[in-house]
Amino acid sequence: MNTIVLTVVLPLLAAFIVPVLSRVSPLLGRLLGPLTLAYAILLTLQVWLGMEGKPFSIALGGFQPPLGINFYVDRLSLLFTFLTLVTSLLLWPWRNETEPRQYALTLLLAASACGLALSGDLFNIYVFYELISVASFGLAAATRSGAAFAASLRYLILSGLGSVLVLCGIAIVYLQTGTLNLAQLSQLAPETLNTPLGLSAFALILLGIGVKGELFPVNSWVPEVYAAASGRVSGLLAGLVSKLAVLVIVRLLVLLFQQESALHLMLILGLLGAITGELAAWRAKDMNRMLAFSSIGQLGVIFIAFSIPGETGLFAGLALSLHHLLVKPALFLLAERWWGSLAGLRGAGLASPVAGGLFVLLALSLVGMPPLPGFWAKFLLFTGLAAQSAVIYQVAIGVVLLSIVIEANYLFRVVMDLFQPAEDDRATVVDGHGWLNLGTTFLLSALLIAGMLLMGPLGAWLEGVAMQAADPVLYFDTVFSVSAIH
């Protein structure tokens, strides 16, 4: 069971070996990363099958929590570990043969993301979060264009300030409780953190981590970075890293900050994100910025979903997150070839009909056309919101519905452009997609269709994941029972 630790250790190790190994043997250097990730995926699956749905905790270094640090493995953290590894593999920078640094950074991202998903204490979460930051700065600047450097700098500053806020928040938590172990905190929280001070700790952590989660208003790095980065990196940041940031916040909400005000704070910021993001996307002039703004909008909706109390919110939020994780990277991969202004895309869909068709499918699911998975995720969100009595949740229904209308409008304006014959005086800039991008997009779309066909079992399973994650008592019992494995 404790082989799950290897999902963090192996990619981390590989990340340091790759630059050296690439000098010795370029071929081995190219293969090491994907092989490591593939092996880690296998390990995750093994653990998944072995745990039989029951969470367990691993004490690292032989010290029992709360003294030692621990990994907490339940279905949710394992799911995100698995998704991290699979997404990193799918979005692996195959083409950059000459650039082992990219391999190293991707591996570092994967390792620290797995660590973030599995960590059972606040301190480790902070460390892994910082590691993710380092990796993502490097990736964002990887295209080495002036715009990319400028955008990365913007990202760096915001993210750095965010980290300071997180640290402040963690400090307050420590001050109030004297521990950073999540399990122990979950027991202490009702007495110690259910105060304005506790709430301000949450606010600081929310805003700090929200930088990566594309939370309004600390997300203004998003359009610049995604406009300058490659499709793979944008896919990784928008699809994966943002979800991990959300995951951390959700864990903290469940375990530490079970206050109505905390939920409302997140809800309001989510609402603002949804409406501002979609509106800005409506006005965007090029594909990448449009996708970036729409990503802000969708993350806003995800925050809205997670602010519904109880497992309903977790269920809806997870469904939306998984859907976004599937769709957004695929769209960014398609956008890589459809670079530049939207007006220049006329006829691009006719030039490469497969890519155009996939774009339509993904856009339809994003808009939430039934019976595609996007609809069911949004349906869960709406039913969850409707079950709440506070007025602000009813307002949220209206805002999300409005944002869907705007989203449909701009996405299909692009679709129409794609399938219009290009004007005579303007040569089509598009020369088809590389088989790699197209293949990956195709795979993601196939997963989307499979998700639609298996919606029943998939939904039931995801509900199980949400139920397990929504139970703080289970978390405590798991960590402090005999279970700790050396």
Binding site: I157, L207, V405
Partner: protein
């Protein structure tokens, strides 16, 4: 396998076949045969529908604790007959020379066939929905299928389609909000549960429900004030598509209105919902929306100079009669409304077929560039003649019967103002359909049209079928009224007691057999006088006169531009374009908001947001 299984499977098969074979020249013929096959499957369930029983679909889906099921009752069946009839005739129309020409001119015939099949399939799914979730799914499928068909022509059609999908998405989201609201009270979305829950809801909640569902469905139906998208979207669609849209597509909105407002909420409940600060209730409001929908779009149609737009604007107006009849809710009125769905579908289809036949031969539908085609395209002329008589609601065509029912019901129910509104609308219809046929077929033939021939048989045959249908159901409306009565009893409305020729009422019956008999006797007498009355002289078509002036071959003249100049002079100040203004204002506001948001995200020093938010949040928390 139930008959509904067979129908839906076969309809899905048609769609798949079109996806695979749509690019070949024989695709239209295959599609026609397959639509006929679907009609046969529909006919197979007729005996069960007549028994008043429900035909179920074997597949049921359960997701997230919600049951989804599909079934056909008389209401679904009635609309499905019209849908498949429209699909059959439209694809027949496209199957021959029309499709060939369309493809030669660079049109995407594959997309047209696929989109048409997708429309029919999704409409059948919608009509079969057995609960609100299935209804929403069907609704969305229909919306996107329509969008697909609207985009076939490209160019201006794309703009119209985008406008449509924006309206449609807004409407769909309103419906979804209504569904979510009901779900939060009922915990399920089965029709039975919903009826129980609505009975317990407060007036304000039902008010909200009616507003949400009503505005969502009104978008599809093109009711005021959500009507602006419809005419361009339908008119810019290529021939068979436009005919199909005109005939049935917007009526899906009526189907949903009947289902939700009449069946689930109930007209009686609507009457209980008063509108603050007025003496009206919700039902009056719907009736007035219907009447305004009759009047305003009809007079907009009067101003059109493109035959396709003229017809499409009429389509919006005619929807008003159907809604008015249904909202009246008595046996006669609702029968009239439902009957008009069928009658209008036949009229509009034949009119679009005729207009596109003219376009096929002359290349234009511009009413200022046509004229005198009666000698060149006599069958098309006759088709249009039959169509406009029906559309204007004059005997002996079927449109007369349904409108008579609605008028009669308005009189019996004592609604003089609504009656007046409906009459004003009909006046506009008569004026504009006369403009249509006059500018297209009457008057002098233009020089460039001397060589024009009648449209090919593949296009004429559907017109002839429709003409016969319009006349037959005009003489013997009982044929369709039998179905309408079934629908009424399925929906829970009072049932009309019809005869073959019309209806028996204590306050004045209608028997079309007599009406038509007398009418033709009149024609007979006229003919007798004409042929026995002495000298007649055959004159050439160009030997003509207009406005008191003689016209000959030397002075070619056809009065078409600025038609009804005198009338227009009187009523022009009434055309304010308020809805267009409203729409564009909303668009501009959205644009301004969006620009502001872009500014927000483009800020040079974004860290300031972080700082401000932290300060604000902490202040909020600590205070």
């Amino acid at each position: 396998m139930t008959p509904l299984d067979e129908l839906l499977l076969f309809s899905g098969l048609t769609l798949v076949l079109m996806l695979l074979l749509g690019r070949f020249s024989y695709a239209g013929k295959i599609a026609t045969v397959f639509y006929a096959g679907q009609l046969l499957f529909l006919a197979k369930m007729a005996d069960r529908i007549i028994d008043g029983s429900i035909v179920t679909f074997s597949l049921q889906v359960e997701l997230f604790g919600l049951q989804m099921s599909w079934r056909f009752d008389a209401l679904s069946w009635f609309f499905a007959v019209i849908t498949l009839g429209a699909g059959l005739l439209s694809s027949w129309y496209a199957s021959g020379e029309w499709g060939e020409r369309f493809r030669r001119q660079g049109g995407n015939l594959w997309l047209l066939h696929v989109a048409l099949a997708a429309n029919v399939f999704s409409m059948l799914i919608l009509l079969g929905s057995g609960d609100l979730l299935a209804l929403f799914i069907g609704w969305e499928l229909v919306s996107w299928a329509s969008f697909l068909l609207m985009t076939v022509a490209g160019g201006r059609a794309i703009q119209a389609a985008m406008r449509y999908i924006t309206y449609a998405m807004s409407g769909a989201m309103a419906i979804l909000a209504g569904i979510v609201l009901l779900w939060s009270h009922a915990g399920g979305l089965q029709y039975g549960q919903i009826i129980d829950v609505i009975a317990q809801l407060s007036q304000a909640q039902v008010w909200l429900l009616v507003a949400l569902f009503g505005s969502g469905f009104a978008v599809k139906m093109g009711l005021l004030p959500f009507h602006l998208w419809q005419a361009p979207a339908y008119a810019e669609t290529p021939g068979p598509g436009a005919a199909f849209f005109g005939a049935i597509s917007a009526r899906m909105g009526l189907y949903a209105i009947i289902l939700v407002l009449v069946q689930l909420i109930g007209l009686a409940r609507l009457s209980e919902l008063t509108i603050p600060f007025t003496f009206l209730d919700m039902r009056d409001l719907w009736a007035w929306i219907a009447v305004l929908t009759i009047i305003l779009p009809t007079y907009t149609a009067l101003r059109q100079t493109d035959a396709r737009y003229l017809l499409a604007w009429h389509g919006i107006g005619q929807g008003g009669y159907m809604l008015l009849g249904v909202v009246l809710g008595d046996a006669l009125g609702s029968a009239g409304g439902l009957l008009h769905v069928f009658n209008y579908a036949t009229n509009q289809a034949v009119l679009f077929f005729a207009v596109f036949a003219v376009m096929f031969r002359t290349g234009t539908a511009d009413l200022n560039k046509l004229g005198g085609l009666i000698t060149r395209m006599p069958i098309s002329f006759f088709a249009m003649l039959v169509g406009i008589i029906g559309l204007a609601g004059l005997p002996p065509m079927n449109g007369f019967v349904s409108k008579w029912f609605v008028y009669r019901s308005l009189m019996i129910e004592g609604e003089p103002l609504l009656f007046l509104g409906a009459i004003i609308g009909t006046l506009g219809t008569i004026l504009s359909v006369y403009k249509l046929i006059h500018n297209t077929f009457l008057g002098q033939l233009r020089v460039e049209h001397v060589e024009v021939r009648e449209a090919p048989w593949s296009m004429v045959a559907p017109m002839i079928i429709l003409m016969l249908l319009i006349f037959a159901t005009g003489v013997a409306p009982g044929l369709v009224l039998d179905w309408v009565a079934l629908v009424q009893s399925a929906v829970g409305l009072p049932v009309v007691e019809n005869t073959l020729g019309g209806v028996e009422l204590t306050s004045g019956s209608l028997d079309m057999l007599w009406v038509v008999g007398v009418l033709f006797a009149g024609f007979g007498i006229g003919a007798l006088l004409f042929y026995s009355g002495g000298r007649t002289r055959q004159v050439h078509q160009l030997d003509n006169y207009a406005g008191g002036h003689f016209l000959t071959a030397e002075t070619r003249y056809h009065y078409s531009d600025n038609f009804y100049a005198g009338l227009m002079h009187l009523i022009r100040p009434w055309y304010r374009g308020s809805f267009v203004w409203l729409e564009s204002t909303l668009g501009s506001l959205l644009g301004i908001a969006a620009s502001l948001m872009q500014r927000l995200y483009g800020a040079l020093h974004p860290s300031i947001y972080l700082l401000v938010t932290v300060v604000v949040t902490l202040t909020w928390v600590l205070l």
